[in-house]
Every structure is written in C-alpha cells, then in structure tokens.
C-alpha cells in the first residue's frame, strides 16, 4: 500500500513538473503516461501500445467534436453573436438589472453557437461592455455576471466539454446533452433573481436602458436569430425524435450553419475559410490532447492506481456527500492552475471510479464537473476566464475584483450542486423522459 502511495505521488509530481514547465498539455499527459509505463513495465512494453493511440484517434464519438466545432465556428465567424446580443437586450433589457441579466442569458445562448466558453465570454464582453459602461452599470456587478455566464455556455448543448467527458467516461452523449438543460435553466433563473434583487435594493447598480423597444423591434431581432434557433431545434429535436444520433446531429448542425450563413449572411469564401481554420486548430488540439490523456489513463489502469485512489476515498469512513464535496474542492484547486480541457482529461480517469463507487450517476457527475471546471476558471491566480474578462473590461479593473464579483455566483452554483446531489432528477429527469 505504501509503495502505491509513492507511485501515486511520483506520477502526480511528474505530471505537475511537465505541466508547469509550459509543455503542451498533450505531451505532458502522454509523456507522463509513457515514462510511467516504461518504469512500471519496461521500455519494450510501451512500444506495444500503438493500439491505445489508434483506438483514441479512431473513436466514433469524437467525430461529433468536429461537426459541432465547425457549426459553432461558422456561426461565430458570420457574426450571429451580435444578432443574439441585440435580441436578448431588446427582450430583457427593461427588467430590473436587465442589462446585466441580458449578458447572462446571452452567454447561455452562446453555448449553442459557440465552440468554447472562452470565445463566448470574449464575444459577449466585446458586445456588452460598451453598453454597460454607457449606462453606468456597476462594473462589480457585470464582471461577475460575465464570469458566471461562461459556466452556462459550457453546459448548454452541444458543448464540446460534454463530448470530451463522454469520450473519457463512456457516458451517453445524447443523455448528457439533455441533462445540461434543466441545471442550465436553473442557474440562469437563480443568477437573474440575484441580480434583480440587488438592483431593486440599489437601483444605481444598473440603471434601465434609455428607452423601451417596440414590439416590432423585438420581433425583428427575433427574426435575425431565427437561423440559430432553428438549427438548435433541429439538432436537439432530431436527437429527441430519434431521427439521428448525437454524432449525426453534429454534421446536420454544421450543414445547417453553412446554409444559414449562405442564405442570411451572404457568400464569403474568406469567412468560411476562417471558420475552417478555427475548426482545425480547436479539433486537432483536442484530438492530440486526448491521445496523451489515453496514454495517461492507461498508466493509471496498469499501475492499479485507480483502485488505490478509490480505496483512499472510500476508506475515509465519511458520508458520500463529504467525498462528493472533496472531489469538487480538488477540482476547484486544480482549476486555479489549468484549463477546463486539462482538468477534464486529468480528473475524469482519476475521479470516475470514486464517483461510481459512491453511487453518483456519471451523467449527473459530468454536468457538475463541467460547471465546476468552468467556475474554477474564474478563480485566481490563473483562472483563464478571469484574464479573458479582464481583457474585455475597461483598463484599471483588477483580476481580484472580478473574482470577488463572481463569488456570489459561485455560491449560487454550489447551491445548485447540492440540490443536484440531493435531487439528481434535476439533471436526470429530462434524459430519462427522452428515452421513455
């Protein structure tokens, strides 16, 4: 047992050194896996693991990443983001704190059209910040809302993180997509209620827009985003009605995005080229990381560390709820140091056996983990989303002030986590309803 503990420490230390040296994540993970297996089984054994690499690349579920990333990149490159901002602002701007609520809702809607939360926050920030500053909305209020919005875009289907999580945990992708909708909706509602209450208590925090928009203006805004809404409905409706699988839905979504861009935004070869280039960059980066992650997982499997880690947590003789909270705390700490993708590929192989041992549904855990990973991105010192938000805010805003503004939203998310632990049906009802 003591030997195993040393092995675990050695593996984690090696991984930490590789990661902190600035090595690409794929090489850090693959390198740890290869070096670890070489020590454990000898160099000759490693050269027989070509099947691990090939099977990762040949994975059917990962095809979905390409289609959904392409769809998101086409929508983003053709400027559908601005249309969504106009729509949300015109429809929700008049509510107490409506300007800030709009940014949260927009981030959630962006989850559908955008490949990553980072790109979503950046785009929403660029569009919303000038308006917030013009209306003299409290920077402390809206910067926290942006940070919170990033977490929402990660659980609104089709999320790339969900596809990667399913690829690593073998959970059902279709179920995962639907499982994110109710928690996402709850987060939007609770976040909006919090903002409204604060603005009602102190109206100076978010003055209302100078004028109300007419019904005609609102419907024109709705018409502009109808291509994205139709695509969303076709993708999720198609999966729900059983017309196509989640993998096929990705290609359908990409074709729909292509047609929408052609019909509503006109032909522009250079913009399509930009969308393809972004797609290749994102997909290749993810695929190569997953190859490294699979080699790392193979090390965990071969060394028996998986059973050892489970025995550590289950041997603590504490309620499952405490184990669950400990896992979330570890993810939060690691999230201070690395990106969501890195967190997922490192934590899923390690935590999945523990989660199964304490009886948490993998789909439920996936949703919680993805939200928590995104929340960790707004935790100093290195939360990636913090830097992105700081980049779109006016000069003088500090990382610390953004993190402090985001804290109430982190509390809201943790309330949802505890609710989901106590009532898993919050996340699992919709997927079970779909398959009924």
């Amino acid at each position: 047992m003591e030997g195993m503990a040393w092995q675990l420490i050695l593996v984690l230390l090696l991984l930490a050194v590789f990661l902190l040296s600035g090595m690409p994540l794929a090489i850090s993970l693959g390198g740890t896996g290869i070096v670890g297996i070489m020590i454990l089984k000898g160099p000759a054994y490693v050269f027989n693991l070509g099947f691990v690499v090939w099977e990762t690349m040949f994975s059917w579920s990962l095809i979905a990443i390409i289609g959904f990333v392409l769809m998101g990149c086409i929508f983003s490159e053709f400027g559908f983001g601005k249309d969504i901002y106009d729509f949300v602002y015109k429809w929700l701007g008049h509510l107490p704190g409506g300007t800030v609520i709009s940014s949260i809702v927009m981030c959630a809607l962006f989850g559908f059209i955008c490949a990553s939360a980072m790109a979503g926050i950046s785009t929403v920030g660029k569009l919303a910040v000038p308006e917030m500053e013009r209306l003299k909305v409290s920077r402390k209020l809206y910067s926290g809302a942006f940070a919170f919005g990033g977490t929402l875009s990660a659980i609104i289907p089709p999320s790339i993180w969900m596809i990667i999580y399913c690829g690593l945990s073998e959970a059902s992708l279709g179920h995962m997509f639907f499982a994110g909708i109710v928690p996402g909706f709850l987060l939007v509602i609770l976040g909006s209620i919090y903002i409204s209450l604060r603005v009602m208590a102190n109206p100076k925090l978010s003055p209302p827009p100078p004028r109300k928009y007419t019904a005609k203006e609102k419907f024109e805004a709705l018409l502009k985003i109808s291509p994205a809404i139709i695509t969303f409905l076709v993708v999720l409706g198609g999966i729900y009605r059983g017309f196509f699988s989640a993998i096929e839905a990705s290609a359908v979504g990409a074709v729909m995005a292509f047609l929408c861009a052609l019909v509503f935004k006109g032909r522009s070869f250079s913009v399509f080229k930009g969308a393809f280039k972004s797609t290749v960059k994102i997909c290749v980066m993810i695929y190569v990381i997953l190859i490294g992650a699979m080699l790392f997982s193979h090390l965990i499997f071969l060394s028996g560390l998986k059973e050892f880690i489970v025995s550590i947590f289950t041997g603590l003789n504490v309620p499952n709820m405490v184990v669950y909270l400990m896992i979330l705390a570890i993810i939060t700490i690691l999230g201070c140091l690395m990106d969501v993708l890195a967190l997922l590929v490192i934590c899923v192989p390690i935590f999945m056996p523990i989660v199964e041992a304490i009886g948490i549904d993998p789909i439920l855990f996936g949703i919680i983990m993805i939200i928590q990973c995104e929340l960790a991105e707004v935790t100093p010192p290195v939360g990636l989303n913090l830097f992105i938000i700081k980049g779109v805010l006016p000069p003088g805003t500090t990382l610390g002030s953004i993190a402090v503004s985001a804290f109430p939203f982190v509390v809201i998310s943790w309330i949802i986590f505890i609710m989901m632990y106590l009532w898993p049906q919050i996340a699992l009802w919709l997927p079970s309803f779909i398959t009924r």
């Binding site: 690409p24 099947f51 095809i63």
Partner: protein, 160 residues
C-alpha cells in the same frame, strides 16, 4: 516546412468536409430513401483519425497547442527560451515514441490485412496518414527546439 504545414491544413479541410458529407449521406439516405448504410461511421472515423494528426504540426507552428504557461510567461526571456528548448526536445522524443508505437501497429495491420468490419476498407493507409502527421509534428518540435536553442544561447548583447 511551412508549405507542407499549409498543404496539410488544406488536406484537413477536405477531410472535415468528407466527414460531414459521409454522415449527411447516411442521414439523408436513411431518412428520405430508406437506404441506411453500415459503413458511414467507420469511414467518418477513419477520416477523423487522419484529420486528428495531419494538421498537428501546423497547430504547433501557430503555437495553438494548449499548455499551462503561467509560470513560463513570468520567466526572464533567457530562461523561457531554455525551458521551451527543453520541452520541445521532450516533445520531439515523446512524439517519436508514439510514431514507433503506431509503426508497429501499422506493421501488424499490414501483416494481418486488417480491414474495417463493415466498410471492408484496409486500415493501414489511414494509420500511415495519421503517423505521417505525427512525423511532421516531431519535425515541427525539432524546428521549435532549434529556434529556442538559438535564442537561449545568443549572447546577451545581441538580444537587445
């Protein structure tokens, strides 16, 4: 190398289009003509496997591979270049090990005449294409290592 990377990028565009076309073929064929295929997922996955690595060198050239860089960014330039040289050499070695691993897999596929279950397509050409992508990635790591080695070893007066 830049030209080769650009070429591979364009090949990857075509592979992505191919994946979308193959899946749409199945969806349309099954939904409207009651003519499902048994091979579309295998073909799409084979194309996906090639697209996974062919542009990997291009992505490294653009420094778009994800890494934890908050420490390295705070180092003095000389130290940063030294560190990037070391990590690039390590990247080169790891990539070459994976190339050898895949080469053994290719040898086995060729020997066994391995084909996909439904599409009956030989697997080895696709494995060769994927391995080629990794070879290019290894070369790109070599170029990156050389670049940072030169910057690292440059006398201080030249760096101004």
């Amino acid at each position: 190398m830049k030209t080769i990377n650009e070429l591979m990028l364009k090949v990857t565009y075509l592979l992505i289009i191919g994946i979308v076309v193959v899946i749409m073929w199945e969806v349309i064929g099954r939904s409207f003509f009651h003519a499902p295929t048994s091979w579309y997922l295998e073909v799409a996955s084979l194309l996906g496997a090639c697209s996974a690595t062919l542009a990997a060198a291009y992505v490294l050239q653009e420094e778009a591979h994800l890494g934890v860089d908050f420490i390295i960014d705070r180092l003095p330039p000389k130290w940063r270049d030294g560190s990037l040289f070391v990590t690039s050499v390590f990247g080169l070695i790891i990539t070459l090990i994976i190339v050898v691993m895949l080469s053994k897999e290719i040898g086995w596929s060729l020997k066994q005449h391995r084909v996909t279950d439904n599409a009956i397509l030989p697997i080895s050409p696709f494995q060769i294409a994927s391995t080629l992508g990794l070879v290019l990635l290894a070369i790109q790591f070599g170029i990156r290592a050389r670049k940072h080695y030169v910057l690292w070893r440059r006398p201080p007066q030249q760096s101004n």
